[in-house]
Structures are given as C-alpha cells and as structure tokens.
Symmetry: C2
Subunit: 112 residues, 2 copies
C-alpha cells in the first residue's frame, strides 16, 4: 500500500485549496469523497470526462492538500485529508461540504 507524494500539512495554502475547489468537476469529486473513500474509476462515473482529465483533477486535489491517495494494486484509494485540514483550517472543509449539499438541493428544487 504505497503512497503517492503529498504536500506536508504545513505547505498547504488557502489559495491553492480554493483553486482546487474552483472547478465544478473537482467539486463533484469532493462531494462524492465526503461519503467515504473511493477509487478513481467510480469517482468519475457520470462526469463524462476522459480518464486522463480525471487523473489531472485527482492530482490537482492531491497537490493542493485536499486528498490523500494510496496505491493498492492497480487501483488508487482517494480520501479527504480531513485530519490535516481540520487542524489547519477548522470548519472550512465542513462548510464547503455543507455548501455543496445545500447547493445541490437548491439546484434540484430549481429544476422546473
């Protein structure tokens, strides 16, 4: 269970975090990660993006410090870096996740 390279917690910056969260596809990925660990392929289902594009998004999230990725055979396991993020920026991740669900609910009810 090797690990992909991740930035140390001290190197995580708010600006990079915000940039990683500024793309709709990455926000959708983060929303799915909030429900538990996932591997790359199921994470991308329904996003209609090329697998290399998904891989790119995974790297952006990882290098921003939002996710941690472990290699398991030929699949990767991606999970949110809740511990580090909660320590560095308390309440931020929770607020973002809550914003994601409430925004999804708002959009669903606005679908006339």
């Amino acid at each position: 269970m090797r690990e992909l390279p991740h930035p140390p917690a001290g190197d995580i910056t708010l600006a990079q975090l915000m940039h990683a969260l500024s793309d709709p596809a990455r926000l959708e990925i983060v929303a799915r990660l909030a429900d538990g660990d996932e591997t790359c392929l199921p994470l991308g289902t329904g996003l209609e993006l090329h697998k290399s594009t998904l891989s790119h998004h995974y790297r952006v999230l990882r290098e921003a410090g939002l996710t941690r990725t472990t290699v398991d055979g030929r699949t990767r396991l991606i999970r949110l870096r809740r511990d580090d993020l909660d320590k560095l920026f308390p309440g931020l991740l929770d607020a973002v996740l809550h914003a994601l669900t409430s925004q999804a609910a708002r959009r669903a009810s606005a679908a006339s």
Copy 2:
C-alpha cells in the same frame, strides 16, 4: 449612493466563490474587508499592483457575489456580502476569514 450591478443571491455558486478566493491578492483584499468597509484605494495599499489590476480584482469579487459595492462621489465603498453568504453557505465565510488570519499568523511565526 448608487449601486454597482451585483448578482442576485440565488445566482451565487460555490465554484465561482472558490475561484474568486483562489488568488492571493484577492484573499488579502477579503482579509482587509473583514475588518470593516473600505474604499478601493486603501484596500490596495501595499499590494503593489496597478490600479487597473486592482479594479479587475474588485470586479471578480463583486461578480462572484463576495462583495457589494456602492458608489459614493468618486470613491467606491466595498463591503462583504455577509448576510447573503451566511444565508447561502452558513459558516463558509467565517471559516475562510478565520483561515486567513490563522494562516497569516503561521506565516509570521515561520519567518525566521
């Protein structure tokens, strides 16, 4: 006291908000706004950016729904849209502002 055009609260999206917050200069502006309303000129002091660049950042913040701008004579008054943002995404703005101050403190103590 005219008002510049702002997006209605319902049109504010998390992705646009995150994008507006993904630039260090804009984060610094937001941090300064947290202490109270400000006009454009003092907001840019020390940022060493051209005034047109600052104007660009003000517009990005405004169009993302982060700030509200009123025209007062030949100056503009910019303030955070706390009410709308707190209603739409509870805790998000507070978490960002807290992250900004704690990150600034961490950087200051890391300045060897």
